[in-house]
């Protein structure tokens, strides 16, 4: 039942979108408790949205003529939640598992705008997410930050201007500690943390040489040298060159303190920065080193001991790292967890005594900074994108339920509308099921006649054009 409700919900938003399509006209959210994150709480405040941006925030704003008014009396508005570690909206596997360096693959190639988890995340107040490759390889695939613009095509999901990233992974997953290949396939290198380090070092050595080769070629070409042998383009090394040039963020999956320090050493050696450490469950042990490196830390609230390298985790991790000056966020790494990141953030008030505002920062401004999108998201400030969530209670309360989620000033989730639309969708579904059933019955009838004939149908005709080509066009690729 739960499932069917969600598949119904899936379509509710499309109509919501079109209803809110008048982007240019103004919208005002009125009479709300506004949690700005950067400049305190405004009681009975209003937010004016124009052209998808926050145009004004305050206690007494004038409502412009013709503006759409959202009455939020008794409700709470906060910036849209930013999930710094997500795997939603991906067509196919999130891991390209065979090569130890899979930087040639790109999550941006396989965004699936119809993944219902986008809508579920919206219902949990998330407006932007860092869509990561999995952790199977020391260097994984290219990653992308999206806005959860449910109902829009894949080309409209990417967060405009956000730098692309690349996934790294340290420890048990890339060294295949807890799983292995089937019989007949050799275990993959690396099998140790030392090997993981070597793979990363090797890849960057190659990337450096690759960059040099191209720089050299371009220089000689510009000088008019002829003949010249062009270098081969390498889709694996180009993203690593971008890392070296600071054009691509490194998001490194990690657990143990030693491997984190290792990556910081390697990064220093090759002259690149680690943008975020992901999971980073032992980050509290080396918070000073992480803070000094400038890397952010994106961790779980209280999830641990699910494997050996996660044994030393503590729920105080986020608070302790923040205390030492690390920019900390709390992420989901799970389509389920993403639906209540507000509660995940609240846990740091209990474990570590964070202030409510600092707790909310863990899922708003801090991940925005980590993803380099803080000029456009993460707080309720004039000029930022109107990516907002409206809760019926204080979002740090367990009673808080999302009422509306806005992106670029458009309502992408509206709880009341959603509930109202369910019966309609259920009706459509039943009608389609009925139609299919009738068609199937009509189909059956003429076939029954030859069955009566003495000749039983013993010759299943050979498949005509089946095979890979058509089936892969017909199904999931």
């Amino acid at each position: 039942m739960k499932r069917s409700i969600f598949s119904l919900i899936l379509f509710a938003a499309i109509s919501v979108n079109s209803a809110a399509a008048q982007n240019s006209s103004a919208t005002v959210i009125q009479n709300a408790t506004i949690l700005t994150i950067t400049h305190g709480t405004i009681e009975h405040g209003s937010i004016l949205i124009q052209s998808g941006k926050i145009a004004a925030v305050g206690a007494d704003l004038k409502v412009p003529e013709g503006a759409t008014v959202i009455d939020a009396t008794g409700q709470f508005v906060m910036p849209g939640i930013i999930d710094c570690h997500s795997h939603i909206a991906v067509d196919g596997s999130v891991n390209e598992g065979a090569p130890a360096v899979s930087s040639m693959v790109n999550i941006g190639d396989v965004l699936n705008p119809e993944d219902v988890n986008i809508y579920r995340d919206l219902a949990g107040g998330v407006t932007a997410a860092n869509i990561l490759h999995g952790s199977a390889n020391p260097i994984g695939g290219q990653t992308i930050v999206i806005k959860l613009r449910w109902g829009k095509p894949a080309s409209e999901l990417p967060f405009e201007g956000a730098l692309p990233g690349i996934k790294f992974a340290l420890g048990e997953n890339p060294k295949h500690s807890n799983f292995g290949p089937p019989p007949g396939v050799a275990p993959r290198y690396p099998a140790t943390r030392m090997g993981v380090e070597e793979v990363i070092r090797q890849a960057f050595t190659e990337a450096r040489e690759y960059k040099k080769r191209w720089d050299d070629y371009n220089r000689r070409k510009a000088a008019g040298e002829n003949p010249l042998m062009p270098p081969r383009r390498d889709e694996k090394l180009e993203p690593l060159v971008e890392v070296l040039e600071g054009k691509r963020y490194v998001h490194a999956h990690c657990y143990r303190a030693d491997e984190i320090l290792m990556l910081l050493r390697v990064a220093k050696e090759f002259g690149f920065k680690v943008r975020t450490f992901q999971h980073v469950l032992e980050g509290y042990k080396i918070a000073d080193e992480i803070a000094a490196s400038g890397a952010g830390a994106s961790t779980f609230s209280d999830w641990w001991a699910y494997k050996m390298e996660a044994y030393d985790a503590i729920p105080y991790n986020a608070a302790l790292m923040a205390e030492r000056g690390v920019n900390v966020s709390v992420n989901s790494d799970s389509a389920e967890e993403a639906r209540h990141l507000n509660q995940e953030a609240a846990k740091s008030m209990k474990f570590g005594g964070m202030s409510p505002n600092d707790a909310l920062k863990l899922i708003t401004l801090n991940p925005a900074i980590q993803l380099g999108i803080e000029s456009r998201a993460g707080s309720i400030d004039v000029g930022k994108d109107a990516d907002l969530v409206i809760y019926n209670h204080d979002p740090l309360s367990v009673y808080a339920v999302v009422q509306k989620t806005l992106i670029d000033g458009q309502v992408y989730f509206d709880r009341q509308r959603d509930l109202a639309r369910c019966p309609e969708l259920e009706k459509e579904k039943q009608a389609l099921l009925e139609k299919e059933k009738k068609a199937a019955e009509a189909e059956k009838k003429p076939e029954e006649k030859p069955a009566k004939k003495p000749e039983p149908k013993k010759k299943p005709p050979k498949a005509a054009g089946g095979g890979d080509g058509s089936s892969d066009a017909a199904g999931a690729q």
């Binding site: 065979a98 190639d109 389609l432 498949a463 080509g469 058509s470 066009a473």
Partner: protein, 473 residues
């Protein structure tokens, strides 16, 4: 129907009746006996597709080509004349996506073949850890080189009015090049119209976490790298050839060499794309890779027809419409998205036509030709105009495949591929009576073996109300 000089043509009909491996033998006899090369179909309704239908028209065939068409056409004295009264002549139909003519042994055949020592056991899955291992990649294979004349489907497809197919190797990211073939010939070589017509691509991952590419994004990355490598080869090899003493030799790589040649020829790349997400993705990738591409699958085209039209991309539409799995659990949750897709897929051709997208049809795994027409009728019921449907089976398919100068319509100079039916193509009861392939005449009037022997001798009444049979559309 009155057909003069029927004697020597009893063979094909007989042969069709007893179903057959005598095919090759029978044809050879004709060849030796000097097969007739001139025909005239007179007094028929001619639907040239390239122009308006001609009532009481004549089509003259000479030496495999259409010599003349019109209502007032001189009939060469040497021509065999088919009285076309009550019959309609169409250009031969094109199935723009099949493996027809390519041996595809099923498990049993394979085991038997192996027992006879004819074929080695398939090799274990090759290990691939990156693009350089060229997993499941054989672009140098050309369907034309592997065509066998003994595929029984050649006859059943032809009897239904298909004179031409795009036949492609399958399995793998670059399985090989597709060929346009005509469905008649004593030898495979006679059948080939265009050997290297298309370069089909698949994004279907290898299905193992431990083999590259194991994910969709891996497949796409792989294809991207191969196109990169091909471009590089086109640049690098001439530099090396001109200066062999100055540069290190580029490694020989069959894949990049083949693909670079297909790109120099601007060969049509076929990208898989069935749902709207895949379609938009494929359009983007075609732009990024700077390839001339058509899409195959296309079944959710109704949702994105404008986007396809904007890119002026053609689509080969799979006529195997999506349906609920036959043995599916009746209690299984049916997502609304799937239900809608299954309900609307057949409206895609109509939507594409409306948006101005050029499209052809392919059987996509439908097992019998009559299912192909049934599926097309479903598209017509869902809003596709019948003339557009006919174009999709003929001239538009030919155009997409780059053979419209030779196939797809009834015009002088074109290959004499014709279907002669006893009524309108889209009438369920209409039956194919004659098929011409490369000017060779095949008469169709027996139900296929195994079907009920309820022969009401196909005597064609003008309105056509005959029984179901081999030529049923």
């Amino acid at each position: 129907m009155t057909v003069r000089w029927m004697r020597s043509r009893i063979w094909p009909a007989f042969m069709a009746a007893c179903g057959c491996f005598v095919l090759g033998w029978a044809c050879r006899i004709h060849a030796e006996g000097g097969e007739p090369r001139y025909f005239a179909i007179t007094n028929a309704r001619v639907v040239p597709v390239s122009g308006p239908p001609i009532d009481g028209g004549t089509v003259v065939i000479a030496n495999g080509l259409i010599q003349a068409v019109g209502s007032d056409v001189a009939i060469p004295p040497e021509a065999w004349v088919i009285d076309g009264k009550g019959l309609t002549v169409y250009p031969g139909f094109i199935d723009a996506g099949t493996d027809l003519g390519l041996a595809k042994p099923d498990g049993a055949d394979e085991a038997a073949a192996r027992a006879r020592g004819r074929q080695p056991a398939p090799p274990p899955a090759e290990i691939s850890m990156g693009p350089e291992d060229r997993p499941a990649t054989t672009p140098w294979r050309v369907a034309a080189d592997e065509i066998k004349t003994d595929d029984k489907r050649i006859e059943s497809w032809r009897n239904a009015g298909f004179t031409t197919t795009l036949t492609s190797p399958e399995a793998g990211f670059f399985p090989g090049q597709g060929s346009v073939i005509d469905l008649a010939g004593d030898r495979p070589g006679d059948m080939i119209v265009k050997p290297a017509a298309t370069l089909p691509v698949s994004f279907k991952p290898r299905g193992s976490f431990f083999l590259f590419p194991g994910s969709l994004m891996g497949s796409i990355a792989y294809v991207r790298q191969v196109f990169d490598d091909a471009s590089w080869y086109s640049q690098a090899q001439p530099v090396y050839d001109a200066n062999p003493n100055q540069f290190e030799r580029p490694a020989y790589d069959h894949t990049q060499e083949t693909i670079s040649h297909t790109r120099e020829r601007d060969e049509l790349v076929l990208l898989p794309a069935n749902n709207s997400i895949q379609i938009l993705r494929a359009l983007r990738l075609a732009d990024e890779w700077k390839i001339r591409a058509a899409l195959y699958g296309g079944q959710e085209g109704y949702a994105v027809s404008e986007a396809i039209a904007a890119k002026k991309t053609s689509v080969l539409v799979n006529l195997k419409w999506p349906e609920r799995a036959k043995e599916s659990d009746p209690e299984e949750e049916q997502p609304l998205r799937e239900l809608r897709f299954r309900d609307r897929a057949s409206s895609t051709p109509g939507a594409l036509a409306k948006a101005g997208v050029k499209f052809g049809f392919y059987s996509g795994g439908l097992k019998e030709p009559k299912e192909i027409f049934k599926a097309a009728r479903k598209a017509i019921d869902a809003g596709l105009a019948t003339d557009a449907a006919l174009r999709a089976f003929t001239l538009d398919a030919a155009d997409i495949l780059g053979v419209s100068g030779r196939l797809g319509s009834i015009q002088p100079g074109k290959i004499a591929n014709l279907v002669i039916a006893d009524g309108d193509l889209w009438n369920e009861k209409t039956k194919v009576k004659h098929v011409f392939v490369d000017g060779r005449w095949f008469e169709v009037h027996e139900p296929p073996p195994g079907e009920k022997p309820e022969e009401k001798k196909p005597e064609r009444a003008a309105g056509s109300s005959s029984t179901a049979g081999g030529g049923g559309l």
